[in-house]
Symmetry: C2
Subunit: 418 residues, 2 copies
């Protein structure tokens, strides 16, 4: 069954690759309109998912993630309109040159072809991904979580209606309408038809894809993120940055996991910081070298760090804390424990900043900013499909361009190779 | 054992990533010098490989591929000097912007990290790859063919001497000094240490890597290449292009496999072409729709094409020939049978050229030129590691830039995300 979906996706991709920017943009705004027109159909189906989730005893956090309401749906529609306004990457000439022998050579951006996207819970991802795939001229096969089957089915119905109304093949966006997990494995083997697999989910999903896929996989979205407070940092200004990185949205991959503090400023910074973040509900896992500095404010939320606590993506209001003797030690520690997602330094010393930027090899490296900025929207891409922590093809936030490849176009006058 | 090699390679890669362009260039020219100084040591070891190959009854073609002589070694050394003169991609700022909120953002090119390269027979690949890896700041683990173990051992000894003389870790270029094939499989699992696998060999090696690797693989180098002679082509000028594409070096991936000819010009072109290429020793597999056109020049080298003959990378002086009714049929045929490597049109009609360029989705698409130009050196990259026929990361010839990734550098004034 998936084999046929693959074939149809590939045929649709050929058509999509030559659709004009205007038509693609109209498609996205039409879809935004239709989502709103069909809101009671969509929200009704979402309600079925929510009810089933309650029956199955899913956590409130998970149920919140899969719940749509009018506001959220409006947000999804607005994101589509925003993507419609972004520049179309397809057709862009990346490089052009004429060689001495007269050959004219250019590299021109073209769609990747067919994307396979495997994701969990949040139904808005269905629309986000479809919008980005279509805008970049790609077909996509979606594999959403079983807990949002009703919602996704309704959303994909809307997508198909809009595709067909615009004279484009519905097969451009296909949906694996079954909770059967073995289909994920099957999807990963369709290397004849799918050009890129994007897993959006936890570490286990990424690991599964990397192990079983015969298609290139964009892994990412796992962030053990660090901030290092240098001895020269402005401590007063540092606290809000640390707080933002940890507290603003603790469940996401670019949230702060581990704070490193230079020993010269730790006595001054840590008690104040811990008191402040305690009011936000943060719990601390403190290395023994910082524990004594917090003697006067002991509380249940301050624990000695255990083994493995610095190799943990918390995704919660938990913060690892450790004192270091030097910038070098901080960099060494980050190289050892970071997942290469987002790591930063807080400093007033430009040389320290430069050394950190040059030696810490993560997708995003920061000076004096919260790690929470690692996001396609925040970094000027307008949208994002995923955040890559692998090194091939794309690194960090992936926007429209990262869903493209290029072809070499070579034009001669009956040239032969000497 | 490979695990340790991986660890050491990763440590070496960290050092290499910060080596100056000057030092890297000196390294390459020092290596070029040393190869020449040590030519009798190298050629003596190569001679052992050649003798063993004779004993084991390898084909003359294969023995020729693995044989080094003073000229070939000089060529290898010259290639190193050429790579030394190429611009260093590392440190290049790909994009820079300042957002309205004051955040300064740039994407800067950095090395991929550690490459794993699996290749067959030709010992010059050992030096080519080491040179390109080092110039782009990457460490590399090499897995050469068992038939060139002596040669590769000697070459790697030279590389290590030069690395150490330049104060750099010998671990930057490591060599799996064993013919044990299970080590290839083991290498493909080292995803903690290796960032990219480059197989250089036949279809089976690529297939094996794609099936077993947990590391991203750059597949490529398999080319079923087409030329389509449009009804408007200048036939006189077309023959030398077809000849060049088929005859100049038939054993390589960018050589021509299948010729498509518009029915209006086939009667005029084919007899002349077949006669001319027959003198070059070409054998023809002719579709029945072209066979009758060659009645008058029947020879042993002209056979009716069998099933599968148009899905074959010949790598030899064999050419498939077929007549088509239209440009559309040619494009459709190419989409069906091409491996997405190199395909071209010969035409005097700019609209036909444009349609072909836009609809044929191969790594390299040509107008009025031989497919033999799909090569990093020919297309202005200065050198090449491989030719990719996959769509992720890099497509077509891969030079130095294609051995890099980028990091996002974000600088603020204690910025927090709203």
């Amino acid at each position: 069954m998936l084999n046929e979906m693959g074939q149809r996706a590939k045929a649709a991709a050929r058509i999509l690759s030559r659709v004009s920017s205007e038509q693609k943009n109209r498609l996205l705004t039409d879809l935004a309109d239709l989502l709103w027109v069909e809101r009671s159909f969509i929200l009704g189906n979402n309600q079925k998912d929510v009810e089933e989730a309650h029956q199955e005893g899913l956590s409130e956090a998970l149920i919140d993630r899969l719940t749509l309401n009018a506001d959220r749906l409006m947000g999804v529609a607005q994101d589509l309109r925003a993507v419609a306004t972004l520049p179309d990457p397809i057709g862009e000439v990346i490089e052009a040159q004429q060689l001495d022998n007269g050959l004219r050579i250019l590299r021109q951006r073209v769609p990747l072809g067919v994307l396979g996207v495997i994701y969990e819970s949040r139904p808005n991802v269905t629309i986000d991904i479809a919008g980005l795939a279509l805008k970049s001229g790609n077909a996509v096969i979606l594999r959403g979580g079983s807990e949002t089957l009703h919602s996704n089915r309704a959303l994909v119905t809307c997508i198909h209606r809009v595709l067909e109304a615009n004279g484009l093949p519905a097969d451009a966006v296909q949906f694996i309408d079954s909770p059967d997990r073995s289909l994920v494995h099957e999807l990963l083997l369709l290397s004849d038809y799918i050009d890129m697999i994007i897993p959006r989910g936890g570490a286990r999903l990424h690991e599964f894809c990397r192990e079983h896929s015969r298609i290139p996989v964009m892994t990412g979205g796992i962030g053990i993120c660090h901030l290092y407070v240098d001895e020269t940092a402005n401590l007063e200004k540092s606290i809000p940055v640390i707080q933002n990185a940890k507290v603003q949205r603790p469940s996401v991959c670019n949230a702060l996991d581990t704070l490193l503090v230079h020993e010269k400023v730790a006595p001054q910074l840590l008690p104040k910081l811990v008191q402040q973040l305690t009011t936000d509900g943060v719990r601390f896992r403190v290395h023994e070298n910082a524990f004594s500095l917090l003697e006067n404010i002991q509380g249940e939320n301050i624990q000695l760090a255990g083994p493995g606590d610095f190799d943990q993506e918390w995704l919660a209001l938990v913060l690892g804390v450790r004192v270091v003797e030097s910038l070098e030690e901080a960099i060494e520690f980050i190289q050892m424990h970071s997942t290469g997602h987002s790591d930063g330094i807080l400093t007033e010393n430009p040389e320290h900043a430069q050394k950190f930027l040059s030696e810490v090899d993560s997708a995003a490296v920061y000076v004096n900013a919260s790690t929470r900025f690692t996001d396609g929207g925040q970094l000027g891409l307008g949208a994002e499909v995923a955040v890559s922590t692998q090194r091939l093809h794309a690194r960090g936030p992936m926007g429209l361009k990262e869903l493209t490849t290029y072809k070499w176009i070579i034009q001669g006058q009956y040239h032969v190779r000497p």
